[in-house]
């Protein structure tokens, strides 16, 4: 790749909750920014570029940056707002990385947020990629999207509802060890299987919650990064792409560019055995059931066999495959900010700062992803040493 080598030198996030009545959206962002700047041992004066974003239709504000930029003390700095449904945080981080790699900026701040307690009915409008003419007659949402994907996955793979429940239980076990996670429920397979059925086979517990939360990172080019921190997290590569046929799920129920993006990025970085060469995973799975197919697409499981790994108890923080040690998106989902939370969590794993949910051993390389609407993926590879 051309451009400067870059590193994440500071990360911050709010505690994620279903509701925050004590602060407004801009103040929520300020919390994450304060945390990231403190982590980077910087002040806003050091920052020369700010990239920010949320899933605007779920925000209720048009052009929220006009209000939030002053609130985070970033008036007069270069930068702009990004909006890209659930992928928003992914493009916020990718753009921040591009800005730092361009060599034009020395200290790039990326901040993403969502205050979902304010967004009643945003998904009634169809969520990402919705188009009133094509999907207006249906109540399209992530729930119906993943009901279909999961139905299709079960038909092709032979996995049962019990396996879907095992995935959710694993996520909950991880989330219970993450101080910032929202849902910590003490689940069992029976509890999940008896939970309220939203749209078969998706139960309420399988879907990501609505969350008020924000996350921020500070990114610098190599020279500057080495100066400001002893624990830089190097950004090895990142890639973003859309997929065809996203508007109606019927077009291709398993359509996903996650596998495509991963193959591309692995080739560029010379990764031949991702399961061995990547030590921690923070993958954006809007429904717990999606984790199965996503594990296959990122290359830790064979096609349509990921559910067997759960049957064999091979997935978890101290297990063979440390997949979503933070508890993932089904525990915490401030939607526009969710991909930045993935990058923050993957960075903490590499630094060894993930505390209770730290994956044991040295994490040399971690992978984080973003997913949005029904058809865009962003993949990030982070590593410990250059």
């Amino acid at each position: 790749m051309n451009g400067e080598r870059i590193a994440i030198v500071g990360v911050g996030q709010t505690v994620h909750k279903s509701k925050r009545t004590d602060i407004n959206t801009a103040e929520l962002c300020a919390e994450a920014v304060e945390a990231a700047l403190a982590d980077a041992q910087m002040t806003m004066k050091d920052i020369d570029c700010v990239i920010l974003g949320s899933f605007e239709p779920a925000d209720g504000y048009s052009g929220p940056d006009k209000w939030i930029v002053p609130e985070i003390g970033a008036v007069g700095k270069a930068g702009f707002e990004m909006q890209n449904v659930g992928t928003t945080g992914g493009v916020v981080a990718a753009t921040g990385f591009n800005m730092a790699a361009s060599g034009l900026f020395q200290n790039v701040l990326c901040v993403a947020w969502q205050k979902m307690d304010e967004a009643a009915g945003a998904f009634g409008r169809g969520g990402g990629g919705a188009n009133e003419y094509w999907t207006g007659q249906f109540p399209m949402s992530p729930i119906t999207n993943f009901a279909r994907r999961t139905y299709d996955y079960m038909t092709r793979s032979g996995c049962t509802e019990e396996h879907l429940a095992m995935v959710r239980v694993k996520q909950d076990q991880c989330a219970q060890r993450n101080k910032n996670a929202q849902l910590k429920l003490g689940l069992t397979v029976e509890k999940v299987m008896n939970d309220f059925l939203l749209a078969w086979p998706i139960r309420r517990l399988h879907m990501c919650p609505t969350t008020a939360g924000s996350a921020a990172i500070v990114v610098c080019p190599e020279k500057r990064a080495k100066k400001v921190t002893k624990k830089p997290v190097w950004v090895e590569d990142w890639f973003t792409c859309h997929q065809g046929g996203a508007l109606t799920m019927a077009e291709d129920p398993q359509a996903s560019t996650l596998g495509y993006a991963c193959r591309k990025i692995y080739k560029r970085c010379g990764i031949t055995n991702p399961k061995k060469e990547i030590n921690a995973w923070e993958v954006y799975e809007p429904a717990s059931t999606a984790e199965l197919r996503w594990m296959e697409e990122v290359g830790v499981a064979e096609d349509y066999k990921a559910w067997k790994l759960f049957e064999q108890g091979k997935v978890g923080i101290e297990k063979e495959i440390p997949f979503n040690p933070s508890g993932g998106v089904t525990a915490t989902n401030p939607i526009g900010a969710t991909p930045v939370v993935r990058v923050v969590e993957a960075s903490l794993q590499i630094r060894g700062d993930a505390e209770e949910h730290q994956v044991p051993g040295t994490i040399n390389r971690a992978l984080a992803t973003a997913y949005g609407g029904q058809g865009e993926n962003v993949v990030f590879l982070l590593k410990k040493t250059l």
Partner: protein, 156 residues
Amino acid sequence: MLKKEEPQDPSVAFRYPRVITYKHSLGYQSKFAHALKMGRIIATKCPVDGRCTIPPRIVCPMHHVKQTEWVDQGQRGKLLSAFKINFPMFDSRTGDLKSWETPIVSIELEGGARMDGWCSETDTEKLKPGMVLEAVWRPAEERQGRVDDILYWKPV
């Protein structure tokens, strides 16, 4: 399920309901809408791999070539998947919470394109992948060139 908790004190939080009207041009896809009014389903075809797609597109998303050919898709198709929504969800056309009793099905049409629709069979146990469904249309005078000109799909 989805409780509407109304804020009591506007100094803590308040709501602002809005209804906005947009005018969307269907552009190249207009032909599809005209076909619906005539009780027909058509799709664009990719000249590279021959795949037919609904929604129709002027350019194939995968091969980046112009799709000038339109193909009739027939009135029948094979069921791909079916599911029912068991909780009130927002109706995007009114903004209200609504119950949805009819299953949503994905169908692969005879012409190869795929689309979503409602199904007359409400017992999802009886809906098996591969079964043949047929389109049931609104009376011609009520059709508006919208996807719900097809009232539902019924098992043949």
